[in-house]
C-alpha cells in the first residue's frame, strides 16, 4: 500500500475548477517533485494532503487513513505529515530554538528538557546548532528556511511537504536549503516537493510529476521526462525554464 494515495481528486474554487481528477501514488522513501506553471494546481494539491485546503471529490489517504476535514482527525494527520512553506512562516516572537520546541512541547506533551534536546538535534541536522537563541529577524532567508525545516522535522513526520520552499530566497541562499533537503532524501525521508528547481528535481527526485491545468500531464522518472518529454506542454515548459 502506498504511503500516500491520491486518487481522482477534484476541487473547485467557486466556478473555477482547479483540480480536475488528480491521481498520484507516493511510496515510502519517494522523493516526488511536482512541477508545472503557476495556476496548474500544484500548490493546491499539496495543501490538500495536509488539510490546509479541502477537496471536493476523490480520495486522499495517508497510511490508509482518509484525509478528513474534522479538526481532531486533521490534527492526527498533521502529526504524520509536515509542511515547509514558501514564506517560512517562522514565529517572529520566538527564537529559532523556541520555534522548533513549541509543537513537540504543546502537542506531544514532552518535557522541557526533552524538547530542548530534540530541538538542538534538529537544528544541528540542518546545520544551525549555533543559532538556537537567535530570533528569525536576525537570520538570513536561507537560515530561516532551514529553521523552518527543523521545526517541521521536530514532530518526526513520516512525510514532508515542501511548497516552493526556495522560491522566496535570494539565489545565493537557495543551495544551502537544497543541500539540507537532499540529505533528508538520502536518509530515506519521504518528500513531496512543489518546486521550480529543475536541476534538483532531476538529480534528487525519484519521481517527477508534471501538472498542467489541474491535471497530471506526465509522470515518471525525472531524467527520462526531462530528456524525452512526451507531451508538447512539458516540452514547452522545459524550454521556458531553461
Amino acid at each position: 500500500m502506498p504511503l500516500i494515495d491520491i486518487h481522482d481528486v477534484r476541487k473547485n474554487f467557486g466556478a473555477l475548477e482547479v483540480l480536475k481528477g488528480v491521481s498520484i501514488d507516493v511510496e515510502k522513501g519517494d522523493v516526488v517533485a511536482i512541477i508545472g506553471r503557476s495556476g496548474s494546481g500544484k500548490s493546491t494539491l499539496l495543501r490538500c494532503v495536509n488539510g490546509l485546503e479541502t477537496y471536493d471529490s476523490g480520495v486522499i489517504s495517508v497510511e490508509g487513513v482518509r484525509v478528513h476535514d474534522q479538526e481532531d482527525k486533521l490534527r492526527e494527520l498533521r502529526r504524520k505529515v509536515g509542511m515547509v512553506f514558501q514564506q517560512f512562516n517562522l514565529f517572529p516572537h520566538l527564537t529559532a530554538g523556541e520555534n522548533v520546541m513549541l509543537a513537540p512541547k504543546v502537542v506531544n506533551g514532552l518535557s522541557r528538557a526533552e524538547v530542548r534536546e530534540l530541538a538542538q538535534a534538529s537544528l544541528a541536522r540542518v546545520g544551525l546548532a549555533e543559532k538556537f537563541g537567535s530570533y528569525p529577524s536576525q537570520l538570513s532567508g536561507g537560515q530561516q528556511q532551514r529553521v523552518a525545516i527543523a521545526r517541521a522535522l521536530s514532530m518526526q513526520p513520516k512525510v514532508l511537504l515542501c511548497d516552493e520552499i526556495t522560491s522566496a530566497l535570494d539565489p545565493e541562499l537557495v543551495n544551502e536549503v537544497l543541500k539540507v533537503v537532499e540529505s533528508l532524501a538520502r536518509d530515506g525521508m519521504t518528500l513531496i516537493l512543489v518546486t521550480h528547481e529543475m536541476r534538483f528535481a532531476r538529480d534528487v527526485g525519484s519521481k517527477l510529476v508534471f501538472m498542467h491545468q489541474g491535471r497530471v500531464h506526465e509522470e515518471g522518472m525525472p531524467r527520462q521526462l526531462f530528456a524525452k518529454p512526451v507531451t508538447p506542454e512539458l516540452a514547452q515548459f522545459i524550454q521556458a525554464i531553461h
Binding site: 479538526e71 494527520l77 498533521r78 512562516n89 502537542v107
Partner: protein
C-alpha cells in the same frame, strides 16, 4: 477681583486626597486587569468563534462605545438593584469600568489578532497544533505586541474616566476633591490640584507601561 488663591487651605486635607489617589490607582489596576482579560476573550471569540458569537460580542462593543460611561455606570449602580442584584459603590464602579474597558480592548486586540499573518496560523496548523494552542502560543503574543501602544492609551483613558465614579460616591480622587471642596470652599484650588494629580498619574502610568512593554516584549 478680590479673590485670592489659597492653596494652603487645602493642606489639612492632604490625607483625604492621598486616600482618594490611592483608591483611584487601585481601581485602575483592578479594572485594567479584568478589562483586558475580558477584551482578550472577546477578541478571541470574535475572530475564532462561531458567527453568532461574533455578532453578540459585536453588539456589546457597539453598545458600550456609543453610550457615555456615566450612563453605563448609572445603569449598573441604579438599574441592576431593580433586578435584584445589589452592588456596593466600589463593586458597581469596578463592574462598569470592566465592562467599558472590555469593549474597547476587544476591538483593539481584535485588530492585533487580525494583523497576524495567515501563514503563521497555517504553520501552527501544519505542526498539528489545535486552534486554542495556536491562539495562545502564536497569535495572542504577536497581537499584543502589535497593539500594546493602543492598549496603553486606552488604559489611560479609562483611568481618567474613572473620575466619573465619584458620582456614585465611590471614594476615589475626584470624590475626595468634592469632599474637600464642600469643606473648604476652595473649589478652584482643589480641583486644580486634583486635575494635576491625574495628570501626574497619567504621565507616570504611561512611563510605567512603556517600561513593562520593554521588559515583556524584548525586541532583538
Amino acid at each position: 477681583m478680590n479673590y485670592q488663591l489659597q492653596f494652603a487651605e487645602l493642606l489639612p486635607y492632604w490625607d483625604v486626597i492621598l486616600k482618594g489617589l490611592w483608591f483611584t490607582i487601585w481601581l485602575t489596576v483592578v479594572s485594567t486587569t479584568a478589562g483586558i482579560a475580558l477584551g482578550t476573550a472577546g477578541a478571541s471569540a470574535r475572530t475564532w468563534g462561531p458567527k453568532w458569537m461574533d455578532n453578540l460580542v459585536g453588539a456589546y462593543v457597539e453598545l458600550i462605545r456609543n453610550t457615555p460611561f456615566i450612563v453605563q455606570l448609572f445603569f449598573v449602580f441604579f438599574g441592576l438593584p431593580s433586578l435584584g442584584i445589589k452592588l456596593s459603590e466600589t463593586q458597581a464602579a469596578i463592574l462598569a469600568l470592566v465592562i467599558n474597558l472590555g469593549a474597547y480592548s476587544t476591538e483593539i486586540i481584535r485588530a492585533g489578532i487580525e494583523a497576524v499573518p495567515r501563514g503563521h496560523v497555517e504553520a501552527g496548523l501544519s505542526l498539528a497544533m489545535s486552534r486554542m494552542q495556536i491562539l495562545r502560543h502564536v497569535v495572542l503574543k504577536q497581537a499584543f505586541m502589535k497593539v500594546y501602544p493602543a492598549l496603553c492609551s486606552q488604559i489611560i483613558i479609562v483611568m481618567l474616566g474613572s473620575s466619573v465614579v465619584s458620582q456614585i460616591s465611590a471614594e476615589e480622587l475626584t470624590f475626595a476633591g468634592n469632599f474637600v471642596q464642600s469643606r473648604s470652599f476652595r473649589a478652584f484650588e482643589i480641583y486644580f490640584v486634583v486635575a494635576f494629580l491625574y495628570l501626574a498619574l497619567a504621565v507616570s502610568v504611561r512611563a510605567l507601561l512603556r517600561a513593562i512593554g520593554h521588559y515583556a516584549f524584548p525586541r532583538p
